[in-house]
Each structure stands twice: as structure tokens, then as C-alpha cells.
């Protein structure tokens, strides 16, 4: 309809400009749609027709919004939402409910209050002003402000056939004022891989986290390395994931890359190959396709490094490392029944790491405020934590006993190992050789006695 009134003998007439009839998801019914005069620029739900931006002259079923384009034929966005939602594909359009919901910006699905929640310019289709990041409680916001919201319980996905566990995505967005590490001990869950033989940890680690990435991924392709469902498939940056029940994909920033911790392969043919392989690998591992794509894309968003690797099925820990101002979403697959706990644990851990004021951002993101000290970098239950990184000499013995548990033994002078062989404390001649620098090592070992955590605590 035109937006002007045409007067005709004291009354008004209506002169249609365009007439369109759509199906539920916005496909124009060709025989019942027409531009009677000049083509009208807006279409289904007020979204901008792609013909306006793509120089098409015929009726097409693609629409442009501020952030993404919408394909009415599939009812999905043609690009994904970088903010993952555990309950739906990041390509999902209108939450599968086009009759009740709108999404004029390709940003977040809303109902009738969407207009009110936006400012007057942004509320108009094709407006140039994105809605306020705090105007909606939705978590699907792109680059929005960090508004703390309660943690929303995760929705379990359908169990993956052949794997035996339900998985959900926990999107953790960690922003920190400085590098820090948290180590999570995840429960060891049995993973069935059908007739695929399981490999030992030494097999897995021999190809994990390779320098260039290609070797490990090539091994995966060749079948010489196993991709365990929910295990490490690839990791970004210094983040290490070796999870029996989950995957972590985390990005870190340029600082670690500059220091040589990360290898930058960004914008190289190698990167392209890795991304492609990553997607395939994720899907091979049983990660549903709609999640495999966002995960790979998530790596793209914050990529500084892509390293491929394979995790042992029996490993139980993951390490998340973040550096300042990096807010690239990470993805953690975890057992569905444990995700809420896991998210809460992340918060607790960050808080106990000496960081003040962690809060959830958007869905399940953890934000660490600027200028806060990170003192206790290792999670309890592994290496012990000390707020100041020091311990009194009197406390060494009791802390050692507490850390190692009953039955520990001294395997060599000054070296004490727990019964299961997975924890070690070193406080011998080497640790006291420098006056004024007496210290003790609290270490976690893998099943082969290799060091996976090493916390040096000064003795004051």
C-alpha cells in the first residue's frame, strides 16, 4: 500500500503498489503476488528484499536484515549467529515460529515487543541503528554489552547414536585482564565407539596438538589417530582440551601468538584446509552437523591458532586459557546432565582464582573484570591453591598430605607421590638450593607419569 492518501471526491481511494502473499516462512506465492507499480523494497515481516541490495528484478525469496540474510525457502539464516545457543542451530530462523515471532535485524528473535524494545530508527526495517544490547533479555546478541543474566539451564540434545551420551553446548565467554588458566577435572564417562578400537593415551598424545596442525589432522583422516566423540578434535590457541566427555574450542589472542605459544596460520591455505577438516572431523565424531559448523566458525572468529589433535578417551581434564580482552566464545561439550553444574563451576573457579566479580554474560559466559589479580590459577582438586602463591614452611607438610592423600610414599629424596601415581610433591635439595627462594612443587601427572600440572609455591 502507498503511504499517502489519494483524495477522490471527498473520500480516499487506495491504490495498491504491491501485493504479496507469503507462506508461513516468507516464500512469496508467485501467482498471488505482484508489484503493480514500482517494486516495493520491503517484504516478509518487513525485511528488506534482496532485490534491493542484489540488483535482482524478479521475485526472490531472500531477505536482508541489518546483520544477516534470510532464506525463506529454508526458513533459516544464510550465515550463523556467532553467539551460540545450545538449544538451536545458529542458522535457525525465527525460532521455527514465524507466525508469532519476528527478527527484523537477524539478531534475535522477538515477539510483539521487539518494536518497543528498539529505538525508533532501529525498529524500522533496514534501519541503521542496532537495538540496544540491554533492551532485550535475549542472549542472541552480537557484540552486545556484557549484561549479567542468570544462567539458563541447558537443553540436552538427542543422544548421539553410537556414542551413548547426550551432549549440549556450553558457551563460555571468558574475558580476563590477564592470562590465566583453570583446569577442570571432568568425570570419566564411558564412550562407546562401536567397532572402532580405542587407543591408549600415548597414542593419542603422540599426535595431539601438533605444531602445524596438518600432521595430526592427516593422521585423523588416515585413521592412524582416533577422534573420540566428545574428545579433543581441535583446539585453538593455547587451550588444551583432552576430555573424555567434552570438547573445548577456545581462542586466545595475539599476545600468546607473539610469544610463540601459538602458531599463527591465519589467512593461509593451511588454515582453510584445517577448517574444512575440522568441520568434517567434528561431524565424524558424532557432533551434529548444525553444531559442527558453528564450532568451526567459532574458531574462525577468534582464530590465532588452529592446532589439531586427538584426545585419549580416558583423559579427564581440560584447560582453558584466556588472555586480556579476548572474548571469543569457547564451546564446551559436556554431559547434558552436568552442564548447569559445569557452568556454575566455571564461575566458582574464576572467583576462586582470585578474580573478583566474575559474572555470566549472555548465556553462560564468564567475565572477569579488569584489574583483578589472578592468584590461584589451578583448580582445587588438582594442584593446591594459595591466594598469594606462597605457603608457610609449617604448612608444607600438612598441605602435602592433604594433596597426596593417604598412603603416599617418598619415591626418591624429596619427591612424594600419591598412591594412584597421579600426584606428586617435590620439596628436596633442588627446591631449597637457592637461599630466599625455597619453594615446593605440587604436580599432577598423567597415567604415564608425565607432568600435566606444575604449580610452584614459594615458601615464606
Amino acid at each position: 500500500m502507498p503511504d499517502i492518501k489519494l483524495s477522490s471526491g471527498g473520500s480516499y481511494i487506495v491504490e495498491p503498489v504491491s501485493v504479496y502473499e507469503y507462506d508461513a516462512y516468507g516464500i512469496a506465492r508467485v501467482t498471488r503476488s505482484a508489484d503493480l507499480k514500482e517494486p516495493y523494497r520491503y517484504g516478509f515481516q518487513g525485511m528488506l528484499r534482496m532485490s534491493e541490495v542484489a540488483l535482482h528484478t524478479t521475485i526472490i525469496n531472500d531477505y536482508a536484515t541489518l546483520f544477516r540474510t534470510y532464506d525463506a525457502r529454508t526458513g533459516r539464516w544464510t550465515s550463523h549467529d556467532p553467539v551460540l545457543q545450545p538449544w538451536e542451530s545458529t542458522y535457525a530462523g525465527l525460532a521455527g515460529n514465524p507466525a508469532m515471532l519476528t527478527d527484523w535485524f537477524g539478531l534475535t528473535t522477538g515477539g510483539g515487543d521487539q518494536r518497543a524494545a528498539s529505538n525508533s530508527d532501529a525498529s524500522k526495517p533496514g534501519g541503521t541503528t542496532p537495538p540496544s544490547s540491554t533492551s532485550s533479555s535475549s542472549t542472541s546478541q552480537t557484540g552486545g554489552g556484557h549484561q549479567a543474566v542468570p544462567l539458563v539451564p541447558m537443553v540436552p540434545m538427542t543422544p548421539i547414536e553410537g556414542i551413548g551420551h547426550s551432549y549440549v553446548i556450553l558457551n563460555i565467554n571468558v574475558v580476563a585482564d590477564r592470562p590465566f588458566s583453570l583446569t577442570y577435572k571432568l568425570p570419566s564417562l564411558p564412550i562407546s565407539l562401536g567397532d572402532k578400537p580405542e587407543r591408549s593415551q600415548s597414542d593419542a598424545t603422540s599426535v595431539a596438538l601438533v605444531k602445524g596442525g596438518t600432521d595430526a589432522l592427516a593422521n585423523v583422516i588416515a585413521g592412524t589417530a582416533k577422534v573420540v566423540a566428545g574428545g579433543l578434535i581441535m583446539t585453538a590457541g593455547a587451550a588444551t582440551a583432552e576430555i573424555g566427555v567434552g570438547v573445548v574450542v577456545f581462542a586466545v589472542g595475539a599476545d600468546l601468538a607473539a610469544s610463540g605459544v601459538n602458531q599463527i596460520i591465519y589467512d593461509t591455505p593451511q588454515e582453510t584446509v584445517l577448517k574444512q577438516v575440522a568441520r568434517g572431523t567434528l561431524e565424524t565424531a558424532g557432533v551434529p552437523k548444525e553444531y559442527a559448523e558453528p564450532m568451526a566458525s567459532g574458531i574462525e572468529m577468534g582464530v590465532q591458532t588452529i592446532a589439531g589433535g586427538v584426545a585419549p578417551a580416558t583423559s579427564r581434564s581440560l584447560t582453558v586459557t584466556s588472555i586480556e580482552t579476548v572474548s571469543t566464545p569457547g564451546v564446551v561439550f559436556s554431559a547434558a546432565d552436568d552442564v548447569a553444574t559445569r557452568a556454575a563451576t566455571v564461575l566458582d573457579d574464576v572467583a576462586e582464582a582470585g578474580v573478583v566479580g566474575p559474572s555470566l554474560v549472555d548465556e553462560a559466559a564468564v567475565v572477569v573484570g579488569p584489574g583483578k589479580e589472578v592468584a590461584k590459577a589451578t583448580r582445587r582438586g588438582r594442584a593446591p591453591e594459595f591466594p598469594s602463591g606462597t605457603i608457610s614452611e609449617d604448612a608444607v607438610l600438612n598441605t602435602t598430605i592433604e594433596y597426596l592423600g593417604e598412603g603416599y610414599r617418598e619415591v626418591s629424596p624429596g619427591r612424594y607421590v600419591s598412591v594412584d601415581g597421579l600426584r606428586q610433591v617435590r620439596y628436596g635439595r633442588h627446591e631449597v638450593r637457592v637461599p630466599g627462594n625455597h619453594h615446593v612443587h605440587f604436580e599432577a601427572l598423567d597415567e604415564l607419569g608425565r607432568v600435566v600440572e606444575n604449580a610452584v609455591v614459594r615458601i615464606e
Binding site: 588458566s181 598424545t205 588444551t240 605459544v261 601459538n262 602458531q263 584447560t319 608425565r450 606444575n454 604449580a455
Partner: protein, 88 residues
């Protein structure tokens, strides 16, 4: 306490950290490691893998019962192959 340096390797861009091991000193993760050194102290049968910074100052260390175990630790953490070590 006499120190016997067994092997040394300088880490370059071809040896990025794999993140296999988390090292924390005084409550904070350690910075970049530039050199690895395997040493043995007089009267101690074990081997220490020393992590040195750009000024060759020891950041931290790990203990291993054999020289090969120390090299394996370095391989896991930095991808240092056996033939990359310079024997002293």
C-alpha cells in the same frame, strides 16, 4: 651442588607450546619459555628439565627419572624431537 648439563635446546617459532602442561609459579601461569635444559645434580639420580626465559633465568622445572623421560616431557609440551637436543 654441582650441576651437570646434559642437553639443551632453544625454542623457536617451530616449538610453540602445546599446552599439554600447565605451569603456575606464584599463582600465575608462566610466560614464554625460550630455552629448555636438562640437568643432573650431583648426588641426585634424577634429571631436571629446566624452563628458562629469554635471560636464561630458570622459570620452573620438572623432575624425571631418566634423560629420555625429560626429553619426552619436552616433546609433549613443545614438540621438541629427540634430534633437536644439543648434547653437552
Amino acid at each position: 651442588m654441582n650441576t651437570d648439563v646434559k642437553a639443551i635446546v632453544h625454542l623457536g617459532s617451530s616449538h610453540p607450546s602445546t599446552g599439554y602442561t600447565v605451569h603456575v609459579v606464584d599463582g600465575s601461569p608462566i610466560g614464554a619459555v625460550h630455552t629448555l635444559q636438562i640437568v643432573q645434580y650431583e648426588g641426585d639420580e634424577g634429571f631436571y628439565l629446566l624452563y628458562l626465559d629469554a635471560n636464561d633465568v630458570e622459570i620452573t622445572d620438572t623432575y624425571h627419572s631418566t634423560l629420555e623421560a625429560a626429553k619426552e616431557q619436552a616433546r609433549l609440551e613443545f614438540g621438541v624431537e629427540r634430534n633437536a637436543w644439543r648434547t653437552c
